[in-house]
Symmetry: C2
Subunit: 235 residues, 2 copies
Amino acid sequence: MTAAAPALSSWRAVLAELERRIAEGDWRPGELIPKEVDLAGEFGCSRATVNRALTALVGAGLVERRRRAGSRVALAPVRRGVFDVPIIRREVEALGAAHAHLVLSAKDEKPPAPIAGRFGAPAPKRLFHIRTLHLADGRPWVFEDRWLSRAEAPDIAALDLEALSVNEWLVRTVPMTACDLVFRAENATAEEAEILDLPIGAALFITERTTWRSDAPITYVRLAAGPGYSLKSRL
Amino acid sequence: MTAAAPALSSWRAVLAELERRIAEGDWRPGELIPKEVDLAGEFGCSRATVNRALTALVGAGLVERRRRAGSRVALAPVRRGVFDVPIIRREVEALGAAHAHLVLSAKDEKPPAPIAGRFGAPAPKRLFHIRTLHLADGRPWVFEDRWLSRAEAPDIAALDLEALSVNEWLVRTVPMTACDLVFRAENATAEEAEILDLPIGAALFITERTTWRSDAPITYVRLAAGPGYSLKSRL
DNA sequence: AAGTGGTCTAGACCACTCC
DNA sequence: GAGTGGTCTAGACCACTTA
């Protein structure tokens, strides 16, 4: 018999121990984990503490749980990754560079079909269309092409767009509830290449974001970043 | 006076109500939120329930909390996005296509410096290097270039690599605890273009992943996907 | 020093599944 | 129907920060 282990009376300690057992292979993928009550007994803590740790493991995608059936080490860990939604100004400043942005154009426009489609079935006749270039230490960094619902953000035209980026203004003014993100790679068109000062065809990292406020689309934005740009994440 | 609201006695209900207040602007960014005890009193539930909801909001990046100082609506919501870590086979099958993979090469090799660096300070002399091409309905989909620690996965050479993808074998066999992900865009090299049957310079969506098992790197993999590939996420 | 969040406990009841 | 996880409560103590 092993000597009685010191009680694990903090949920982080329990979490660490559970992670260890999974990492070391004590519990293999697909295997059943002892039930909460038993673990609580073993660790000398309350069931709630064990539950908190297990809940964290579920959140990390490392464990799957079902009532009555018990908890298992995730067999095919469709693990969930977490990343911080990029805020361009912060990214640039984090690189130790000075952030600035230029407004290339800003006007009401009839949106092309693919854009209009994102704004719902009764396609809006006009949207506010603003194209800006973000600079890091004066050099082109990210090209932002944004369409904005006039209904949701009526004051936009009055704004001093040079001073405050549209994104930051939105974040502070219009509460947002949901957001779709798509990342992809695309070759730079002639126009994008010129704006970003890159060769035509350069690989761009594209971020597309559509933001809703309870079913009403507020804005669609397409961010194009040149080489050197990357999105990082940890699990 | 408002009529007494029905008690919110589930943490999800409390969460929804807090989210609503933030979304509707009752509590503006940067503003102080009532303390847990008060909210518990207002909602007619226990402090633990309020705490659970607030903890979820912190996890979503919508609220910041500090002891003694109280809780505030995040001023610059560095919102956290969640995405499912791509599992190529599943992605392909989700598109309604048949998945297959070809092993292009598989052998022990001395890793180049940038790769070796990822495997820690005492750079391993040899790593198992395997290059595979994932196919969707017989057409090139993703090019996978992987380096594997022999120490962490000694049995790999004996495996029938054609039958089971390395990734799936790893997932089922070697428990993983931590993982770094980087996404970027790159132009296809001549070799990549040939493998993926794309023009040279085509924009590739690159995923780099390094996986550890408690501080010991298990594998580094670089996935290169052609046009049409995208990574989706919601907030 | 005091106030707020962070966490633990012990017990209880409910909800969902699987048998 | 019975077993497991999911959640709530009421109270308590601790830890961190700010005043």
